[in-house]
Amino acid sequence: MEKNHPEGVGLAASCMAACPVHTPTQAYVQAIAEGRYEDAMDLLLSANPFSSVCGRICHHPCEQNCRRIAVDKPISLRGLKRFVMDQTKDFRKTRKRQGAPANGKKAAIIGAGPSGLTAAQDLAMKGYQVTVFEASDSPGGMLGKAIPRYRLPFDVVMEDIADILALGVELKTNTAIGKDLSFADLRQQGFDAILLAIGLAQSKSLGIPGIDSKGILLGIPFLRMAVEGVPVKLGDKVVVIGGGNVAIDVARTARRLGAKKVTMVSLESRKEMPAWEWEIQEAVDEGIELMPSWGPKAIQAGKGGVRGIELKKCTRVFDENKRFNPAFDESVTTQVACDNILIAIGQGSDFSFLQGSGVKLTPRGLLEWDGETFATSVPGIFASGETVTGPGSAVEAVASGHRAAEAMDHWLQTGTFKKVPKEELPNIGELPKEVAEKARKLERVEVGLTDAGKRVQDFEEFERTYTEAEALREARRCVACATGAVVTEELCAACLTCVRVCPFGVATVDRTASTPAEKCLTCGLCAAECPAAAIALSRFGTEKVKQELARLAGVKKDKDKPIIVSFNCIYEAQSRRYLVPGEEVLGKDGVLRIMVPCVARLKVTELLMPFELGAEGVAVIACEEGECVYPTAEDRLEVRVRRAKQLLDEIGIGGGRMDLFKTKGSAEESWEELWEESRNKIKSAGTGAGAEVSR
């Protein structure tokens, strides 16, 4: 009778909506909670081929938009993503991906950064023969060349890239277009389309006096040297000019290379600094000083090189038109002594290789480019990523790559341009305060960081990954937005049961019941108790129970081992041990385990169902006393179990065959004992029932 089982409520969870690639966030977190790490990996990779990378460095707009913020703190989504990718490393290598059969067309991609390689993946999956040209000796772009190793180890970058190359994408490193191979020659090689994904590799410099002094380095080259292990000698005092994420990376790298005093000078005020807030905080923890609202005036140098820098007060960064147009008070200056100056004030692309190709630039020196069709001025030549969007995050580059690939595919198949705008998802919106107030607060499991004093000493990753128990505990906090209760109005009798049962005051009845998606916290109590069976959750329903019980078919009865079906709450698991179904139906515990996200959502019919299919006993194992995330759910479950027991008495097979247990400590600590208890109870109930049955 699950004709009203919904796929979802037709709205996207706000985490998913906020993600530039619309990662199915809520879905992968639920997959983690259910122990399906491989499914979680598939979900992540379906949106973002650079999931391992983003698991380390993404700026997680999903977290900023997590609706749980209204209750306590957002889910640690980046941490969970990293956990999944770490757990499934080997699985990812061995599993095969099958794209569409080869369609005979070829595409060239210049630049093996995240946007280029994402486009390469998508095109390869659609059957195109793809070749990626990379100027340097290794792929990854900024991921491998600029982002410091303490944030992103290179082998992590290669995990993602290897998975893409495994689709048959050809990678040609050490092939700089314009140097090793001219653009004109490239175009002779028979590619049906070309994607310019060259990123912003050129660091900008300052035109102030003393800029040519020794001891001055540009941001990206500096980071690249650090990443490649090229020895960089820095003095004790270093000034970094810039307020963005690159400047932060530069500053933190400088600390690790031995600088004792690192000062970041930015035009922006502290609040305006464009770097991610948590990065700024981590930098400050590492001892970096900030000097916001100052601009570079002149560099002082001596015989050995840089001695200091004179700064002038920056009174304003953006003008009335919100344009970058800094203003200064030249009369207010200050002097900072330093041995090195590292400049991280922005980047650009070198388009010199396009001269004579017909690919036009704008008067400001940027590519002439359509932001929706991804086309340049030459049909068949497209562009994506930071080179055309300006500086952005890795995941935004991935999004750009996806859209470019879609645009290119259309053009390649039809010869016409397709607009591929940013997809806006219908967002479920904020969690209303009156509901958030009633939700139980759960402490966020923070990702462990190495102590600041210790971590500046080297380039080791300073962030620990979650243990399995931590990840499961954090995943449990997810509210599973947009998978809540859905009422089938034609069946609703307006009996008000859902209104009375909902612990959060979400359900209301006008002519029929209504469970607004933006309020529902997915506890499932209304669905379990609706007398008209008119409410279903897209998250978990009777069909799933039926599927799992189908495994009982063909299991032979054993006098000493009664067939027991155990409904267990996933939230008490600290490992996958019980979350994944065993090889044998009854496992070594002798029990068919059905894992349920909160057993309080089990209907009476679901509790009885095992007996229809051959079970001799049912154990329901709930969370530890008082631990259930949903208020009143424990008590309601108890009433339902008692009713089921009464019905079993009524039928004549005896209510003693069903029992409700509470976990003690954790699943791993207590379930085996509880199953043993259940077995003993049911064995003794067994002798009685046989006699009673023949009525």
């Binding site: 009778m1 034609e490 069946l491 009798a493 307006a494 009996c495 008000l496 049961t497 009375r500 609706c530 007398p531 008209a532 069976a533 008119a534 209907k603 009476v604 019919t605 009885l608 169902m609 007996f611 229809e612 051959g614 019905l647 079993l648 009524e650 039928i651 004549g652 097979i653 029932a689 049955v693 023949s694 009525r695």
Partner: protein, 242 residues
Amino acid sequence: MIVAERKPFAEIKEFLAPYKKVMILGCGTCVTVCQAGGQAEVDILASELRIADRQEGKSREFITGTITRQCEPEMVDPILEQVKRDQPEAILTLACGVGCNFLAERVGKVPVFPGVDTSFYGTALEHGVFAEMCAGCGQCILHLTGGICPIARCTKSLMNGPCGGSNKGKCEISTEVDCGWALIVKRMEELGTLDKLTEMYAVRDWSKSFHGGPRKLLIPSVKIAAELAAQAEETTKPGAKS
């Protein structure tokens, strides 16, 4: 609304013992609200029967479903179609007595068994607690008793209660039963209309209740249409006055 309670399983099991293909039909209105016969209860009963069958080594076919109301022709028609198609040997309905009657008269050669004991017209005092409020007497006198019915809520249906058995607001038959007349007196005190009760309320005409025989009701427009039709027939009869 009509309040009913599901019959004991043993009784239903016995009704259905001879049949191998049974339709279990729920009703989506009153019995859903009082949790006796909605889809959820249909599912539970079907499950119980299947479990019981399994214990006896039996396996039967159960067709289950619920319709919005079993007392409405258009809503029951699709079931009649389905019965013709699927040919169940018996139907167990969880609708109230009204639905059971209605279905039984229309369904042809298939026995229809009642799955619930229909009890009263009542209200939900709180979730899951229902109390009798109205006796369907056909001649409402609630304006005389502050809105509280002496026929349904006084055990003896007294018109001039309370009798001597009223004890601390409860009826002599049980402390679980409120004395309807105690409620009436209290309410009319509250309304300031207690003086109405100094006059004897006259002997009742019970012929309007079911004591006068099974009742039928036509809504005004249908009544009028019937009258018009009768008139028309009169004037077209041979020998009719023009």
